[in-house]
Symmetry: C2
């Protein structure tokens, strides 16, 4: 069966995933909210503010009308920023609930509700939970469109639907594995952005690879602690959407979250950094929601706590670094 | 009690660890086998071939005589390349067996015997196993001597001796955690060098961070499989001497093993690459011994296998990459 796909959101990953799907036998419609971005894509088939050196396949139909985008489709790719997910799916709740496969690409935890993306989508649409698949893993769009070998995970409680996504999205150098732990996959993809900000601060302060190796290790440990408290499986965090995405985000020059941290480390103010960016750094909001989630479940997340204090409470980065390094000498696994 | 330390080996990590110990109240003697290197250190207190921008503390006494080096010491730091460990400790087996604390810094698995470093040291000296501590983790010497925040693990079956090493080696920005899983710590530190060569090949081929995120994830999975088969604990590989050391080695410009892979990826021959290096890339030999160990225990290690075929059997890197990417689509954790 040839799939009829709608991609909701023409940010960098929306554009990147269109490159993957354009290699398959499927129809693709793409929706974008920002009129200027939509017009630019219509005229030039590209938006260099979101993704340089890329040209949208001619067969992709562009629209600014959500209902038109999803009309006559059976698979919806949701690629909007995490904090906008609820407002977008709310507008098309009824058609999304009618048996379409919903593929979530957003990485984040909603402020306020502290819900993961699939939870937000389910809550708004009332869709069958079996029809939601989250695709996550180390997959910077800038590399995917250059056919850099990339591997991700399709997670769903439905093996049938995970397989359907795996088969549709596996093309050439883009490979999709499967997981049934959607909770772990979504948490790994979201929480790693907090650690990426910390890694960026280490970069901005001129610290080295030894420091980042330590940050990633301790960062994965605190992500794992929260994940286990929320019912995820430990092995998921050792996989592509945990460890894999974490290391790529912490080292890649393409990572917006690492960039935000680097600028903080160099002494710039968060508001100024964000004002100068044309893309969303999900980790800034995830630091707030992740910290609140940890507090609610009584989970210790020292890196998340320090990032929160630095970004939202005026703590100096030197003090945060000293707090993380100065913890009492002890066994590596103390909990 | 003020420790009386001998550092055996003045390679980059031997010099690097002297920077750490020079900040403590202890006496330090340092032995080096290569006469020209020893003379250079005596005259200039440095050896830029091993470690740039570094000056050996004036209090460190240099010697080319092994017995003189360890005379009147109570703590021996073994910092020789893995494949030379046996021949070095054999020469001082008797004094090493007499209650001295032996701190192993070498990372590798001996060709032929397929033994870890602490096993080689024990076999040659007959020392009490409680007296061996292995120090491992993401700790490139180039960064340690610049006081970059660095964390490592001291592993021993003796908590008392792990604590003694932890207290002696923890200074300023160098922090030491403890572990009782010396098997896991040594395997993690050794086997990561194989994955680092693969990461270097990806760099040399112009692949990106997505690819390296995937390689690190699948690499840690195969290291874990072998570790579990050899009696190590899973959590050790999620720690500093597993994941932490792995990510640092795979991304750092200071990694010799990553460098070897990068040169292979650019089309150079292994022999030519090694002939041009002034330092040892442990991962080349560990690929041989690690592969043999995996075969003996029936453990599947696809990255290790491909690295072996590339380095020792003439397989083209493109073919190796295709083999790793082309594996049948399946669940992320299939074993």
């Amino acid at each position: 069966m040839s799939e009829r796909v709608a991609i909701i959101g023409a940010g960098s990953w929306g554009l990147g995933i269109s490159h993957v799907l354009s290699q398959q036998d499927c129809s693709i419609k793409m929706w974008e909210f920002v009129a200027a971005d939509l017009e630019r894509l219509r005229q030039t088939r590209n938006n260099p503010d979101k993704l340089a050196d890329f040209r949208l396949d001619e067969r992709v139909q562009l629209t600014g009308d959500l209902e038109e985008a999803i009309a006559d489709t059976n698979l919806i790719v949701l690629a909007v920023p995490a904090q906008f997910m609820r407002s977008v799916v709310r507008q098309i709740a009824a058609p999304l609930s009618q048996g379409r496969l919903l593929v979530n690409l957003a990485k984040g935890i909603e402020i306020g509700s502290l819900k993961r993306m699939s939870e937000v989508i389910l809550e708004e649409t009332g869709a069958d939970p079996e029809n939601i698949v989250t695709l996550s893993g180390p997959s910077h769009a800038e590399e995917v469109v250059k056919n850099t070998p990339t591997t991700v995970v399709a997670a769903s409680i439905s093996e049938k639907n995970a397989t359907r996504v795996q088969e549709l999205f596996s093309v050439g150098s883009f490979r999709v594995y499967q997981s049934d732990d959607i909770t772990g996959v979504e948490l790994g993809g979201s929480l790693k952005n907090i650690v990426a900000i910390a890694a960026g601060i280490a970069d901005g302060l001129g610290m080295g690879d030894n420091t980042k190796g330590a940050l990633i290790t301790r960062g994965l440990a605190e992500i794992l602690r929260l994940g286990l408290a929320l019912g995820a499986r430990a092995e998921t965090f050792a996989g592509l959407s945990g460890l894999g995405d974490l290391v790529t985000t912490c080292f890649s020059r393409h990572s917006r979250n690492r960039f935000v941290g680097e600028q903080i480390g160099k002494g710039r103010k968060l508001d100024d950094i964000l004002a100068g960016m044309k893309m969303v750094a999900e980790g800034v909001q995830t630091t707030r929601s992740g910290r609140e989630l940890a507090g609610r479940h009584g989970v210790e997340m020292p890196i998340t706590e320090e990032m929160y204090q630095v970004m939202f409470n005026g703590r100096a980065v030197d003090e945060a670094a000293a707090n993380l390094m100065g913890r009492e000498l002890k066994a590596e696994f103390w909990n």
